[in-house]
Symmetry: C2
DNA sequence: ACGATAACAGTAATCTTTACTGAATTATGG
DNA sequence: CCATAATTCAGTAAAGATTACTGTTATCGT
């Protein structure tokens, strides 16, 4: 009865499938738009709830990236990310880079350091060409 | 007359001074509370506007950190940050760590990589003791 | 001190995310 | 295969963070 109650509902399956299919790292809202093409009646709350659920169960990655909106990644293999400083878009860095060492790091007010990652700042091609075209910013 | 029109208003001066004084890395809202003790009539919008202004002019650092709310740092010297994975609090890593190399990094869809930083995940003492006390999460 | 105008206070609007509610769907035992 | 229980759903509302707008105030070069 009270065992692992994990229902693979249609909504959850579609969300996971579309997230894995896309190469971008969509926000909940962007994924909502994508999923709605297949499930027109899905609600934004459901997308948020399932992204949280899938991230907690380790099926997707919740990107701990800067920027105002959370983004998600269907590829849970170890890789780094670049974030466009203008639009927030995220790209994958495929070069394997060693995880930064955590040993020996001590910070006043913190009792443990549990992980570390490198975050790259970049300019995506869309923003670069938009700026070349004359429009500043 | 269209020269660099930058007025050092009382509000801006107080915001900058208080941000430099504090060791924490406050959100706009937290700084608003602090500044209001000296300028009771200041508005939150003014705090946001000036934080943006000061960050753009390089006087403070806008922390490119994960988490839902933006944070700011009055110390613009080069150092890394740890973020508490539970409460979002930020601490300074004083050990000098080399900036991650940017050369040779190429990412599909990105035309330039302009910088990189290490972000550490940690547990702050407040959250650690709160969890020890039995309250989970 | 004066005048142009950047910056202000206050408020409203926007955007992102979370919480709540009754209804529908799902896994499972009979 | 059908009934049962409860998780999950859709829809909506609310909360939190940030930005935009408007008329007023205060700064700074002259």
């Amino acid at each position: 009865m009270a065992q692992a109650q994990t229902r693979m509902t249609r909504q959850r399956a579609v969300i996971l499938e579309e997230l894995r299919k896309t190469k971008s790292h969509p926000t909940a809202d962007e994924l909502y738009s994508i999923v709605r093409e297949r499930l027109p009646h899905i609600s934004l709350g459901t997308v948020y709830r399932n992204l949280d659920f899938l991230a907690d169960s380790g099926e997707i990655r919740r990107l701990e990236a800067a920027g105002s909106t959370k983004r998600f990644d269907g590829d849970i293999s170890w890789h780094q990310h670049v974030r466009c400083v203008h639009c927030g878009r995220i790209g994958d860095v495929m070069q394997p880079l060693a995880a930064p060492p955590v040993d020996g790091i001590q910070v006043c007010g913190f009792s443990a350091i549990v992980g570390a990652r490198i975050e790259f700042d970049g300019v995506c091609e869309a923003c670069a060409s938009r700026r070349e075209a004359g429009q500043q910013n």
